[in-house]
């Protein structure tokens, strides 16, 4: 293991660029960590060890040849198994795509490779990104490194757990209703959902096309910002991609000054159903923001209560259509092709065998919501609620630069605790869904451990579309102030929790620039 796996991406990138350590060494250290802990954590569905070392060597060769590399060149990364990569299967954690190696790379994957980032492998998720706990994976759940009896969140639990287990310093997740932010919250890591259209969806296996976004996950705000800059930007292969430069997220992460920022606490996102420890840490963080110079007010978003039901109509509807392509005719699982079944029967038998219960549940729900006679009442109405929620945000952003809320009402619940209660499970997305429906930028930042269970709590920041930099400004300010309070990053507590050791020596840094207040 060693200190390399405790080092952040920015510092690793700088050390590799300075020649202090080779990219290969860094990759090997992380592969060793995966070997050591992933048997328990199960963050990865596929580790591309040979390819990763080759990628790392190529970065070392380029650096040796005098090439100027980007800030994350040679840094290893975990990729959620819902983005295509030609070097490994893309399974979406489903039996339907077991072993399917796509013939093309996602745009995000391309950008990572072009930046010299080393992809270690594909991480676990709830099947086809449907879920809030990663328990719906067809390949077994991922465990929360903070407490291996608990969920790491979902759908992107694998990516978040990989960070928290020090198997990678950065990861890519995807967020449709909270699948980056909620895992970030329950694993004490940073997870960002960019403005819808800010990151290309080409090569991202679609769940709900009008909601899906790939985004950066990391253990620090700056690392997330650097990764955001790599993957963001216009893509001519994605009609829904924004033709504008990536907002200045890295600058905001370095600067991190909230003086004079107007911060709105959303009244409707709190109270009953929210764990005491979650609310406590949230309120403390908000108080801290005031101390740091922000102006905090309460705002009301009266239609947010309708966001969850609207989401659970829109998402399944789009999903029921997006998942129709999985019919065994061209790729993937095929069941029943024994000469006695028609194509139609083989399609039905395959989909029955290949999809898990949650996927089937949502496909049937979505099929119902779109069917004739029901469209207006369900899908049509939900699209109207979407308008009302956008209006709530627009109104709130007239008086606020950002809005804040807890990321999710509770800390990590136990594996199996909500498995039989879909509606209870859906409630994990209460706070994250409104931003998804509106297409806003939103992120989760760790703000402490709940006193009652010692588990991480996340604070969600929401910003208007294209104002992703504001997220990083708030996140960086909080991070600096809290780490000062804690005497180090939040995961030091995890380290001592998981190993029972004394806190480690400070990790390697090439220089101290990332710890200063930036351009104050």
């Amino acid at each position: 293991m060693g200190e390399l796996t405790r080092t952040g991406a920015a510092d690793l990138g700088a050390a590799i660029a300075a020649g202090t350590v080779s990219a290969e060494e860094v990759t090997r250290a992380h592969l060793a960590q995966i070997d050591a802990v992933d048997g328990t954590v199960h963050a990865f569905l596929h580790v591309a060890a040979d390819d990763a070392i080759e990628q790392a060597r190529r970065v070392d060769q380029r650096r040796a040849a005098g090439e100027r590399l980007g800030p994350l060149a040679g840094v290893p990364l975990a990729l959620k198994d819902v983005l295509t990569w030609t070097k490994a299967p893309t399974t979406c954690a489903s039996k339907m795509l077991e072993g399917w190696v796509p013939p093309y790379d996602a745009t995000v994957t391309r950008k990572l490779i072009d930046a010299g980032i080393v992809i270690l492998g594909k991480t676990n998720l709830d099947e086809f990104a449907m879920g809030s706990s990663t328990e719906n994976s067809a390949y077994g759940p991922t465990r929360n490194p903070w407490d291996t009896d608990r969920i790491p969140g979902g759908s992107g639990g694998g990516s978040a757990a990989a960070l928290a287990a020090f198997e990678a310093p950065i990861a890519i997740g995807t967020d449709t209703g909270g699948s980056i932010r909620q895992p970030g919250s329950v694993t004490g890591t940073v997870g960002v959902k960019p403005t819808y259209g800010g990151v290309s969806r080409f090569g991202l296996v679609a769940l709900a096309s009008s909601l899906d976004q790939a985004g950066p996950c990391a253990r620090s705000v700056l690392d997330a910002a650097l990764l955001h800059e790599v993957i963001g930007g216009h893509d001519p292969y994605d009609s829904t991609s924004i033709d504008a430069p990536v907002p200045s997220v890295v600058e905001a992460a370095r600067y991190g000054d909230v003086t004079g920022m107007r911060i709105g606490v959303v009244k409707e996102l709190g109270g009953e159903g929210y764990a005491a420890g979650v609310e406590q840490r949230f309120n403390e963080a908000v108080a801290l923001l005031t101390e740091l110079g922000a102006e905090v007010v309460e705002v009301s978003c009266p239609h947010f209560g309708y966001a969850l039901p609207a989401y659970y109509l829109i998402q399944p509807s789009e999903t029921s259509s997006n998942l129709a392509k999985f019919d065994s005719m061209r790729y993937g699982l095929r069941v029943g092709d024994d000469g006695s079944h028609s194509a139609e029967e083989v399609m039905s038998l395959t989909r029955e065998a290949g999809f898990g219960p949650e996927v089937k549940r949502r496909i049937i729900l979505g099929t119902y919501a779109l069917s004739s006679g029901y469209y207006d009442a369900y899908y049509g109405s939900a699209q109207k609620v979407r308008t009302l929620i956008i209006d709530d945000f627009t109104k709130a952003f007239e008086t606020c630069d950002v809005l804040v809320s807890p990321t999710t009402p509770t800390t990590a619940f136990r594996i199996g605790e909500r498995a039989d209660d879909p509606v209870a499970m859906y409630k994990a997305d209460l706070c994250t869904i409104p931003s998804s429906l509106a297409g806003n930028a939103a992120a989760s930042f760790p703000v402490g451990l709940a006193p009652e269970d010692g588990l991480p709590v996340g604070l969600q920041v929401m910003a208007p579309p294209m104002a992703d930099d504001r997220l990083y400004r708030v996140g960086a300010a909080l991070e600096r102030a809290l780490e000062d309070q804690w005497g180090g990053p939040i995961w030091r507590a995890l380290d001592s929790v998981s190993k029972g050791d004394d806190p480690l020596e400070p990790p390697i840094r090439a220089n101290n620039s990332t710890r200063e207040g930036g351009m104050a």
Binding site: P102, S209, T240, M329
Partner: protein, 497 residues
């Protein structure tokens, strides 16, 4: 067991036919609707596919701007309104030739709507109201293996080629066409022929029905005379030629009439036209009507053509067919009847091209409607496919005008050109069909004939000129037709005073 049909006249005595024509046009863009794959016809299977048109997980569509332009031009040419803004919708159903198991189409927001077109049949003009023209994508092609006729019934398995999947299609739908009476089949045919000519003039499609770049589904229903409600309609597919359009509509009218007069109800269903047997048969009946669950495609953003762009496209449209006909009629100095015959034969383009190639208009008309029309009918092909080009027809006429050949010989030349022996001049040379222009040889032949027919010769000398024909015939025969009959007559007159 074939369905019974009612005699056509009886059908019309009791019923008014109502038509609805849905025409699908494959656009001739270089690349597909959502991706850069080529659209060339006849490529090796699955060599013109990519993650996008295969609908692979993670793939996304991006609209081909050229297809939008063609869609607008088609709409304008059909006098439609062009939408201020319109969206794409997903039509959800499962079928192996559709990689995503939904077709991206347009549902309640077509790019063009509320237009009209006119067609002429036997001197009467019919106005066809156009409901809409919208953009959608084509499916892949399936090959059914193991069955008797390559058709789906009885096949053992199927093979899918997705080269065609994602090719841009425009679907043009008429409003119900009423008041055509006994001409319904011809009106249907004339409409499709008009569309074909229009689309060809716009240059947006190859419009080859036999290749599938122009497809027609014919909806037919019957209203008992005096009824106010429309009857139940059937939709007939697999109508692969203009001929089939007319025949299928006529057949359906007679079949439905037999059903109705027998006291039964017409079943609303999709039927399949069989060119060989001249009947329609029902498709697979579905237990429930398919629910397509249309919703706006979230992977695509609205298409909102600016009014400037629309006007720019309108200004660049080719001449509308009706105006063009007026113009050519004046240029060619045709009577209304003569023009109508050319229009009905679908030969306006051909005549025009022949004239452009140098032939007099009347001559062009004579050849295309006469000898070539006869041959096309016999061979069962369209005039344009008869095997002779307008340029060649003009060359032929030039040879006639130069008296190199006469009319009779010209027919033999036509036979040679169609048989692939080359251009008219080449056929004349190869077959030795040139009219003998050597007066010496002609003179000798005339002398021979005069000598062989002394009574006729005597009568001519006496002034009975009509008898000359009795000499001309044998002379022409002796010359194997390769003589200019007029010159022969002249020579006879010269020699016999």
């Amino acid at each position: 067991m074939s369905d019974s049909v009612l005699d056509y006249d009886e059908v019309l005595a009791s019923f008014d036919p109502v038509l609805g024509l849905e025409v699908h046009v494959e656009l001739n863009t270089a690349s597909k609707m959502w991706c850069g794959c080529a659209t060339t016809f006849g490529a090796e299977p699955n060599t013109q596919t990519c993650p996008i048109c295969l609908g692979l997980p993670g793939s996304l569509p991006v609209v081909n701007g050229s297809a939008v332009e063609s869609a607008i031009r088609i709409g304008l040419a059909l006098n439609c309104s062009i939408a201020q803004t319109c969206r794409f919708a997903r039509k959800n159903y499962f079928y192996p030739d559709m990689p995503k198991n939904y077709q991206i189409s347009q549902y309640d927001e077509p790019i063009a709507y509320d237009g009209w077109a006119e067609v002429e049949v036997d001197g009467e003009t019919y106005r066809i109201e156009i409901e809409r023209a919208h953009m959608e994508e084509d499916t892949g092609k399936s090959l059914h293996v193991g069955g008797a006729t390559g058709r789906i019934q009885g096949a053992d398995h199927s093979l899918l080629d997705y080269n065609r999947a994602g090719v841009p299609l425009i679907e043009i739908v008429t409003k119900p066409i009423r008041g055509t009476g006994e001409k319904a089949p011809q009106v249907a045919r004339a409409y499709v022929a008009m569309l074909r000519d229009l689309l060809r003039a716009l240059g947006v499609s190859d419009v080859r029905m036999e290749q599938g770049s122009l497809r027609c589904d014919a909806n037919v229903s019957l209203m008992p005379k005096g009824a106010v409600e429309l009857g139940t309609r059937t939709e007939t597919k697999n109508v692969n030629s203009l001929r089939s359009v007319e025949a299928a509509v006529r057949y359906e009218m007679t079949r439905q009439a037999a059903v109705l007069t027998g006291g039964d109800a017409v079943k609303q269903e999709t039927r399949h036209w069989h060119e060989d047997t001249g009947i329609t048969t029902p498709g697979r009946s579905k237990e429930q009507a398919e629910d397509y669950r249309y919703f706006n495609d979230p992977d695509l953003v609205p298409v909102a053509p600016s009014r400037d762009w629309v006007e720019q496209l309108r200004a660049s449209l080719p001449e509308p067919p009706a105006e063009r006909l007026k113009r050519v009629q004046a240029e060619w100095e045709f009577t209304d009847l003569e023009l109508r015959d050319v229009v009905n034969a679908g030969a306006v383009d051909l005549v025009e091209q022949t004239v452009v190639a140098g032939a007099p208009a009347q001559a062009a008309r004579k050849w295309w409607l006469g000898e070539l029309g006869r041959r096309a009918n016999e061979a069962g092909v369209e005039l344009a496919e008869v095997g002779m080009t307008p340029t060649q027809v003009a060359q032929l006429q030039a040879l006639v005008d130069a008296k190199v050949i006469n009319d009779k010989l010209a027919r033999q030349v036509i036979e040679g050109v169609i048989a692939g022996e080359g251009d008219p001049q080449q056929v004349v040379d190869a077959r030795g069909l040139a009219v003998v222009s050597d007066d010496g040889a002609l003179s000798a032949a005339v002398d021979e004939a005069i000598a062989a027919n002394p009574e006729a010769a005597a009568k001519i000398r006496d002034g009975n000129l009509k008898v000359a024909g009795a000499l001309i015939g044998p002379i022409m025969k002796a010359m194997k037709g390769q003589a200019d009959a007029a010159r022969v007559r002249e020579l006879i007159m010269e020699k016999l005073g």
